[in-house]
Amino acid sequence: MENNVTLEPVTEPETESEGVPAAISSEDAVFIAMEMGKRILTCGGEVHRAEETIRRICTAYGAHTVDVDAILSMIILTADFGNGDLTSFRRVSDVGGNNLGRLAKLNALSRRICATKPIKEEFLALLDEAEKSSSISVIMKLLGAALISFGFAWYFGGSLLDGALSALIAIPMWLVLKLLSRSNMNAIVAKFIVCFMGGVGALLIGRTGIVCNVNMIIIGDIMNVVPGVVLTNSLRDLFGGDIMSGLFRLCTALLDAVAIACGYAVAILIFGGAV
């Protein structure tokens, strides 16, 4: 049996195999499946979903056997389209993204791929369209961050003023976090810096004499950076049998929580107390 190892990007299609529709080579089918799997992982999907998507796409394009294994940082696929095993590997970086809208779009796209079996060029156009239509504008993200801080500062027992002040701090916190992640700053250090800033901001507001509850302002801002998505996905991965990915995400969530606690703790220690 011939072992054909392909590295990304797959550029030269081979002769068509019997199980694959005439217009597409098995390499292109593998390329499409792997691109979809990789993107699902980078926008916050579970490992199980990425593996299932790859399996379904390969089967739709006529693969007889599909063996796929994904962890958060890589995907390995071996598929047999009738002309021997074809193995492909992808290194996945940037897995911290949380774009649930894009995840839904990719999910719909994978259904469409299985139904219509597009060729590589058509797939790339569809993928581009799905990604463009699901990018979140900065205004939306800022508005979201402000609403989270406002809503949760209020929900956890603060006044409307506490909520508003919390939202006011959330906006620069989000902008700085974005700036730091763009400059390739270590994600944990970036969270520490941002939380320290948020803590200093809230404590300074508390010192100005405005009648507010500094604790509630800080809690509202914490809800913005708390690793809820990572924690939820880590549990779903762990108990879905993807132990490696679950542990990977759990460790990330715990490190994030420590960075957040340390950031606020340092600010409180410098100011000599929260109130």
């Binding site: 995840l103 961050a145 809503g151 549990l235 957040i260 606020y264 409180i268």
Partner: protein, 158 residues
């Protein structure tokens, strides 16, 4: 009594505003936002009712997260969207951000009573939240597989 109801409505409004913020930040599609808000509403109502009936933090968290996860699995099938899209904004109100903050505050200000009380509560809520998700996820996979098989068989027959 009226004051309690009013307070409950205000809390619910605050939770909904927070959830809407999460939906905006994570780019939830417009067609799913209403369903996501309903997930959060269910979570809030289940958690608050369980707490009001004296269920305690742990039981209330398990109930809140399992009801929301179950709803998410059903709705994900109905509106054809990934479960993650529904669960994450839905259960955000159970994430013990406040309790974690007070735990840290207790540690920083050497207030061991505050540290132990809130640390314990944060652990209870977080583990309840996890257990609720895990329980529903564990039973949903075989049910989903069974549904897929039935749907496929029906399709083949027609």
């Amino acid at each position: 009594m009226n004051e309690q109801i009013l307070n409950g409505i205000l809390m619910m409004t605050a939770a909904m505003i927070g959830t809407l913020g999460v939906a905006f930040t994570f780019g939830v599609e417009k067609r799913s936002i209403g369903w996501v808000m309903l997930a959060s509403f269910l979570c809030c109502v289940t958690y608050d009712t369980a707490m009001a009936l004296g269920g305690g933090l742990f039981v209330a968290s398990i109930l809140g997260s399992s009801v929301t996860t179950l709803y998410s699995y059903v709705m994900a099938r109905v509106i054809k969207t990934p479960v993650t899209v529904m669960i994450i904004p839905g259960i955000i109100i159970l994430v013990p951000g406040g309790k974690l903050y007070y735990t840290m505050l207790g540690a920083v200000s050497s207030d061991m009573e505050m540290f132990a009380k809130h640390g314990k509560e944060a652990l209870l809520v977080a583990s309840g939240l996890a257990l609720g998700i895990i329980a529903v996820t564990a039973i949903s996979r075989p049910i989903n597989a069974m549904l897929n098989r039935i749907l496929r068989d029906n399709k083949n027959k027609t």
